[in-house]
């Protein structure tokens, strides 16, 4: 069920990093989640995810985390990724996808209480005349396997700013204890 974030008042919060919304389903497991009606009053967005795939999975325990913007399910997403697995460094790419295939999300089979963290920056998200670029950094370690990942991604939409963000939790959704936070980064005068 989409949660509409409360509008952030520029005068009510000091500093450039303003919390917009937070979701953890009151500590229970949850599937996909959508931030709707994202305020268009900031310069950038930052998404912070602390998550774990509810499916057991198999070694090396790497599920995936996906984003979709403004409900766009067209083949308008792509990314270039760089990651290290502890034994090798890899760069790969996907093109023309129906969502981002951005970052690993650790499977629950990796072990008890093991989560991965992802921070995604979307600069200039309100710009309605330029494709949207995002940068993600993910950390995941499962005590024998793991990944350090950075991703540059693209949403090929040059007709609107980002007004909603959907987060998809891998194969089985997010386990209890997972959380998703959305922040606005404001610039001068915002």
């Amino acid at each position: 069920m989409p949660i509409t974030p409360a509008a952030a008042s520029a005068g009510s919060v000091k500093g450039a990093v303003v919390p917009i919304a937070y979701y953890n389903n009151a500590g229970s497991a949850f599937g996909n989640y959508t931030f709707s009606n994202i305020p268009q009053t900031f310069q950038d967005l930052m998404v912070v995810i602390y998550g774990r795939d509810a499916s057991t999975g198999t070694s090396p325990w790497m599920s995936q985390l996906n984003y979709r913007f403004n409900g766009d399910a067209g083949t308008n997403y792509s990314q270039t990724r760089l990651y290290g697995s502890g034994s090798s460094a890899v760069s790969d790419r996907v093109t023309s996808q129906t969502s981002t295939n951005t970052d690993p999300l650790v499977f629950s089979g990796a072990g008890a209480n093991i989560f991965s963290t992802t921070v995604t920056h979307i600069l200039n998200y309100t710009n309605a005349s330029i494709y949207k670029t995002f940068i993600s950094r993910t950390s995941a370690d499962a005590n024998g396997t793991g990944w350090a990942v950075i991703t540059a991604g693209l949403w090929r939409n040059a007709s609107s700013g980002i007004t909603s963000l959907s987060v998809y939790g891998g194969v089985g959704g997010f386990t209890a204890g997972s959380s998703i936070e959305l922040f606005g980064i404001r610039s001068i005068g915002q």
């Binding site: 000091k14 500093g15 450039a16 990093v17 310069q43 950038d44 792509s78 990314q79 270039t80 990724r81 760089l82 460094a89 890899v90 760069s91 790969d92 790419r93 093109t95 023309s96 920056h121 600069l123 200039n124 710009n127 005349s129 330029i130 494709y131 670029t133 995002f134 940068i135 950094r137 950075i150 991703t151 540059a152 991604g153 693209l154 090929r156 040059a158 980064i185 404001r186 610039s187 001068i188 915002q190």
Partner: protein, 168 residues
């Protein structure tokens, strides 16, 4: 707390983002860059208007979607941040951090992360550089080697503090 200090937006005749007279009242600095250019270009960072090829050693790790690579230099006269997108429709995003920028007992470390994707090509990278000078940072200039960047490109400068000081 992160406080916005200044913003520079390109108008089509901008090849450098030059932040001068940076307040000395914060602990760290962050630059958030959204930059596009329609020709091959590299994005560089210079401190205090110093262009000296003995002061900016750097290293970086990057991937282009097909292979990984690492680069370095000890002879550039400014620090390499990243390649730029060379596209009329795709801008690159970069976040640059300079910690402890007013401390006159330390040389400066500059770190960055960022990249771009063009649905079939692209680059993602992380870079680190050393500015071999203990002078406090009062000016930062981000330069495009390929000349003027696209209108709409912008760089936002932020100060990060643990005190209650307010910015601009």
């Amino acid at each position: 707390m992160m406080i916005p200090i200044a913003t520079i937006t390109a108008n089509g005749s901008t090849s450098a983002f030059d932040f001068q007279n940076i307040p000395q009242t914060f602990t760290h600095l962050q630059l958030r860059c959204f930059v596009g250019i329609n020709t091959g270009s590299v994005f560089f960072c210079a401190i205090n208007n110093v262009y000296n090829n003995t002061k900016y050693p750097w290293h970086r790790l990057y991937g282009d979607g097909a292979s990984t690579a690492s680069g370095s230099s000890t002879t550039d006269n400014q620090m390499l941040i990243s390649d730029l997108a060379n596209s009329a429709t795709t801008f690159g995003s970069f976040i640059i951090d300079i910690l402890d920028y007013t401390n006159t007992n330390k040389n400066r470390v500059i770190k960055s992360i960022g990249g771009f994707d063009k649905n079939g090509s692209g680059q993602v990278s992380t870079s680190s550089g050393l500015y071999i000078d203990t002078t406090a940072v009062s000016r930062i200039t981000l330069n495009s080697s390929g000349g003027n960047v696209l209108a709409g490109s912008r760089v936002d400068l932020y100060g990060i503090t643990t005190s209650s000081v307010t910015g601009a």
